[in-house]
């Protein structure tokens, strides 16, 4: 704090019309200031503090992640009948073929409700620029914007008028369906509240009904019930929150019942969605949740690594400081004193 630096000789004896700059701490660049300096003590303290904070967090999140039970079932290949293995596209594109597929999964550990059902797609570039731009948020919000489809190419309108919801994103809506039963007992799948609360409120209008959807030459995915407003089409809402990466999960529904260990869950899958055309994978995921989210130990590992490294650095600095200290502010280290007798050459 050098607020008084060189200020003494500036008195207020300025004459009437003098151009002498008025003295103020601001104009003389002498505002009171704090000048932190990285002293070894501070640095060691900081690293110790980081270590102390990070390690417990790391352990806690690892622990939480470990407690998440997650079952992933990769079904797209196995759900193709053997006679179509070489021609999966024909199978999936044909309306004649039987798309139903039965999968059985064993529950390794008890899964407390709610059990979240996700579908996972790989190699699906839901973040491709052409894809993410092909939507009209205005149209989704209100009926009056129905004609606002200029951003939706190539799914803008059909001969009957504008498509609602338009665009590739909606057009490619995922349409596999899952039914679950345990010991031949149907498990209820709740499809309520699988999207953010904000979406039905503001983003998807309650007066907007699907129109001309999936009526073009090429069917992209699910059809929508044109009597239900968009604000109640939660699958669409989930889908339209486009994913970050080409591998992504989307919430399908929730099972509001506990699944016990060693239960065998029978999943009846309607395998409709065409991922075969781009070589993508489809997976069914059942997972519980923890405070950290799903099963992902990376955050825990990252915290443990950073925390551990910081502690290590703190100890190394402490040792360095003890064995090779440098007095702070020692003028003999100044470059012009270094060569002089008594100066330090490091």
């Amino acid at each position: 704090m050098d607020a008084k630096d060189g200020a003494s000789d500036l008195t207020s004896s300025t004459k009437k019309k003098s151009r002498r700059p008025k003295y103020s701490q601001f104009t003389q660049q002498e505002l009171p200031a704090c000048k932190p300096i990285l002293t070894p003590a501070w640095v060691i303290l900081i690293f110790v503090a980081i270590g102390i904070v990070f390690l417990p967090i790391g352990f806690a999140s690892l622990f939480a992640s470990e407690h998440v039970v997650e079952i992933v079932n990769h079904y797209d290949r196995d759900c193709v009948p053997p006679n179509y293995v070489d021609n999966k596209l024909a199978y999936i594109q044909s309306s004649k073929t039987n798309k139903t597929c039965i999968r059985r999964v064993t529950i390794p550990k008890q899964m407390k409700s709610p059990v979240y059902i996700y579908y996972q797609l790989d190699h699906f570039y839901q973040n491709h620029r052409r894809y993410v731009k092909s939507r009209s948020d205005g149209q989704l919000r209100s009926k009056s914007n129905e004609k606002k489809t200029d951003t939706c190419a190539p799914e803008r309108y059909t001969a009957n008028g504008a498509i609602v919801p338009c665009g590739l994103v909606a057009w490619s809506l995922f349409n596999d369906t899952y039914k679950f039963s345990v010991n031949n007992k149907q498990l209820g799948v709740s499809k309520k509240d699988i999207t953010w609360k904000s979406d039905p409120k503001k983003k998807f209008g309650s007066d907007v009904y699907p129109k001309n959807f999936q009526s073009g030459g090429l069917i992209g995915g699910a059809k929508l019930n044109s009597s239900i407003p968009l604000s109640e089409q939660e699958d669409l809402m989930v889908w339209m929150r486009t994913s970050t990466l080409p591998t992504f999960r989307k919430l399908y529904g929730k099972i509001e019942a506990d699944l016990e260990a060693d239960d065998i869950v029978t999943v009846t899958i309607e395998n409709n969605y065409n991922t075969y055309i781009f070589g993508g994978n489809k997976k069914l995921v059942l997972s519980t949740a923890s405070w950290i989210g799903g099963k992902n130990c990376l955050l825990g590992i990252a915290y443990l690594t950073v925390g551990g490294l910081c502690l290590f650095l703190a100890i190394s600095f402490l040792l360095l400081y003890l064995f090779k200290p440098r007095p702070l502010g020692d003028t003999s280290y100044l470059s012009w004193n270094r060569s002089a007798p008594g100066g330090h050459i490091y």
Partner: protein, 1305 residues
Amino acid sequence: MTSKRPLLIPSPRTPNTQHLPALPVYSDIANPTSGGTGLFSGMDSRNPAAADNSINVELPTFKSSPQRSISSSQRSVSSSQGSVVEPPTFKSSSQRSVSSSRRSVVEPPTFKSSSQGSVVEPPTFKSSSQRSVSSLQSKASGNNSVRESISSLQSKNSGNNSVREVSFGDLESKPVRYGSRGADSEALSLSQKDLNEEDARVVYIDDLAKTNERFEYSGNSIRTAKYSVFTFLPRNLFEQFHRVAYIYFLVIAVLNQLPQLAVFGRGVSILPLAFVLLVTAVKDGFEDYRRHRSDRIENNRLASVLVGNQFHPKKWKDVRVGEIIKIQASEAIPCDMVLLSTSDPTGVAYVQTINLDGESNLKTRYAKQETLSKMPDKEKITGLIKCENPNRNIYGFHAFMEIDGKRLSLGPSNIILRGCELKNTHWVIGVAVYVGRETKVMLNSSGAPSKRSRLETRMNFEIILLSGFLVALCTVVSFCAAVWLRHNNDELDDILFYRKQDYSKGKVDDYNYYGWGLEILFTFLMSVIVFQIMIPISLYISMELVRVGQAYFMIRDGQMYDESSDSRFQCRALNINEDLGQIKYVFSDKTGTLTENKMEFQCASIWGVDYNGGRSSPEQVGYSVEVDGKILRPKMKVKADPDLQQLLRSGKDTNEGKHVYEFFLALAACNTIVPLVVDTSDPNGGLLDYQGESPDEQALVYAAAAYGFMLIERTSGHIVIDIQGDRQRFNVLGLHEFDSDRKRMSVILGCPDKTIKVFVKGADTTMFSVIDKRLNLDIIRATEAHIHAYSSLGLRTLVVGMRELSATKFEQWHSSFEEASTALIGRAALLRKVAGTIENNLIILGASGIEDKLQLGVPEAIDSLRTAGVQVWVLTGDKQETAISIGYSSKLLTRRMTQIIINSSSRDSCRRSLEDAILMSRKLMTVSADTQTDRGSSGHGGTQVALIIDGTSLVYILDSELEEKLFELASYCTVVLCCRVAPLQKAGIVALVKNRTADMTLAIGDGANDVSMIQMADVGVGISGQEGRQAVMSSDFAMGQFRFLVPLLLVHGHWNYQRMGYMILYNFYRNAVFVLILFWYVLFTCFSLTTAITDWSSMLYSIIYTAVPTIVVGILDKDLSRRTLLDYPQLYGAGQRQECYNSKLFWLTVVDTFWQSLAVFFIPLFAYWGSSIDRSSIGDLWTLAVVILVNLHLAMDVIRWNWITHAAIWGSIIATWICVFVIDAIPSLVGYWAIFHVIKTASFWLCLLAIIIAAMAPRFVVKFLYQYYRPSDVQIARELEKFGNPSASRPAQIEMNAILDLPRR
């Protein structure tokens, strides 16, 4: 021009020379051309032709033997050198003698009457003054014209290949201003011929219709405003787009408008450009509004214009060319006008030109004799003025007037310019010749030259590197995209979003697919758009803002305020602030820069007797005289020698007294000073203010006044001098102005006792050649010795001589003078010749010594600059002795230094001296290196070498292969002192250093002669002192005193450099880290350039999220306090060593940037891998993470936290949060509500924390290790500031106080 062997002489005052290896002492013995006759015989080099041939002129005068004392041989060199004391005094103003032209024919000179009948005025000689155009010509304020005039001088010299002192000496202290009369007079006569009908502007006096017949001359309204309401938008935009940065913005924005390339929303992409344009437009608009306002006021001022037979008030804007205007005292002049008549019977008018060139003294202007008596309101004047077309040379005007069938030539002294004010004259009447935009002041209103800072030049290299990075990133993206497209070519028809056909319209249609090649091109262009901020265009804008801020603080610095001239520091160039922190060489002028240029008469040698008692006696003698009931005193008091006063009081009966009388009469009369009475608070008292263009003359007149020879009145015809209470009137019968060939001036006085006397004063070299050496040889010798002693004390010397004229001689002179002054061709040469006929066979009266006092704090300032590792070179036009003695008193030279003196007059001898000097200095260096381990910059105890070189030698060295040698030699020397250098040589010396090193150079000076040097150096500093404003006008920075250089460089320069260097690196980092995050994401999106971060955030990133803190830190951060920087000048070395910005730091920053971008990008990516996170949420996380990170990164490097820094950094982070909230609260955007959703999850916060710690940790560790185990000087000083013991570590404090403390006068 003599003694051409190099003199390698250790300083006589060097105590330890005995220990040094034997040094060669050369003398003239070996010189085959030795054999000169006498001291004075060889010195007259008036004849340039003689000077050409150095053999002829080389007349070594002292056959000095090696045993001769060193100082004497040194003296011999200089005196025989033919060097000339700079007599700036004489180069003054009015040549009132010339061309009384036809009138004198009608009314023959009345000399006889004046010699017979006492005080009859001899009107003819003086009144119709023909001030030569020339004198002021070269004083042009436009840089070009100065250069031109200098070069014209130079070429003149090279034309006859002579090395006359003319070109070197006379341009020194006041030089260009007065210029070389000859050249310009020639120009005048030429221009008279050249003023042909086509080029000339013809103005019919008081005849508007006829004047504007051929051309409609514009009115007198001026427009400094650039825009009108209608032109504002287009013109302002046009001007703004002159900047490359804006073009870049524009191109990117335009690219983004193409549908195929639209990466960002259309509105969003224009935002940054629109923002910058708007801010600048508002600023420009406001400035222009103010200009409009002042224009309006200016245009509506009233002038009194002749309409019919009466003067009527008329608005300035309505004044037209050809109108006759009457100006009253203290009124401003509305346009450029030719004077017709003035209230003064002799036609003199005084104007103050402070608005034009900043000089506050009064200038004299003259009305032509022929028009003087015409009263336009009584009789109609008809005539015409033919003048050159409007130009910006305010010191030149070529025209002639035809009136009453006579043709009169007009020069710059006949015109008064807009912007001046009439003073001390009741009224003047003139004809408007240039009005409005065509006035010289308007033509001159142009800005300062722009330079580019070294840091910015370096930065441009890194910008190119960054462009390389940008291209590389874009290439990677397009290459990958190409591979991907090729790979999936077969599937493109089917892949949902890459269908080639558009089915939606029912017909087959291509959808957004342009073929492989075009897709790649588009991908490339799109990636340029996405990664655009890799080129930190905002950096240029931030830098400008930061520089404005820095300039604000420099201007407001109380320690750079000069009380005596009431001037603040001025930043004229706004783009080289940071260069101030890297200066390695300072080139300084001497007069007015190191010294005050307030001349003070110190001592006199009269008739061979040295009177210097004034120095010892503090007695203040106020001499006063009563005029019109008022007691007048001289404004400036001069210490007087009591013996001399005693002698004067005893009268002029004794021989001694007579000479003293003549001497002081000469001082009082032989000048062009105008006495003005300044009223004081005392109604009965007044001060006599001697106004003149030469401070030396002023000093002499004040001195004469102190000894009772008080100049009271000067008109063009006579002067009144109060001599010891006895008022006497002298008729000025003739006056030969100073010119640079003669280096003297003379005045012919008709004395009350009816004798005619010629008084001459001038430089010793030329004076001794015209003094009659048959008489009083011993007195001449004694005077010569005194002069030498004076100049060794650092005084400026002048020699005064006189002779009496017989009537016949005078008649002779008069008729030839008449002839010469009316000559149309070669007038100047003729006048010079006439002057030569009368300025000879003089009796020596004596010599004066004038002290040019050293400015306050100069030795301390030089000392701390030297400690800071700055080499100070002094370039002066003064004599070698004067220069050396000033060198000692300013601590530039110390007694321990070995001096190498190079005075050579031929190329060969130059080469020899240089080679010898290099050998010797090498030897000295090794000796000192053996005995001392000390480094050169601190230099205590080591043998230091001072190089003293004169302008004559430099002629042979500059622009030849010897430059290299001189530079080598100079690099061994701690001090370089160049004496007798011409302005252009000053620039040459600066260029010598500038072109050979990467080191920064600074030139500081105050006079017109320094202009070329100031412009040549990397940084030019002007001292706003006594010598007008030309140096200031061409400088980058201007200040009041030399010692302010210390706070300027050591404090502000250091800060600015450190701030700017850090800011550039930080800006590179800040933008690159963001671009890299975008880039990493692109790799996961099929190379389709999707961004997770919203368009708005991308655009706001460099405008709102991160811009303010870097600007605030760039303006306000201080690595060290002012006190510390002044206490340890060595800390300045940080800038010289480029510690704050170099390629190592750049590459470190690049590596750090990579790491940080990886941390920011991949920690969330892996944490959310395979989860259901959507693009907007993670985008918000990345946005916040990167903004917080870069702001904390800055926070980590901030050295001083004051409240503004806190507000800027934390405020930016908060502003970012707010912006992200706002953006995510807009339902029509894709990412609606994402941030509100994601901040409720724990992993968001964990990611944020992990990112920041992981990203900053490496930098933090490296920073700490560096600071702790490889501390820079700055770091140690910081620690010292915080923990050090203040009392133990302030060795330099007392010394520095002299620099810091403001003078109390």
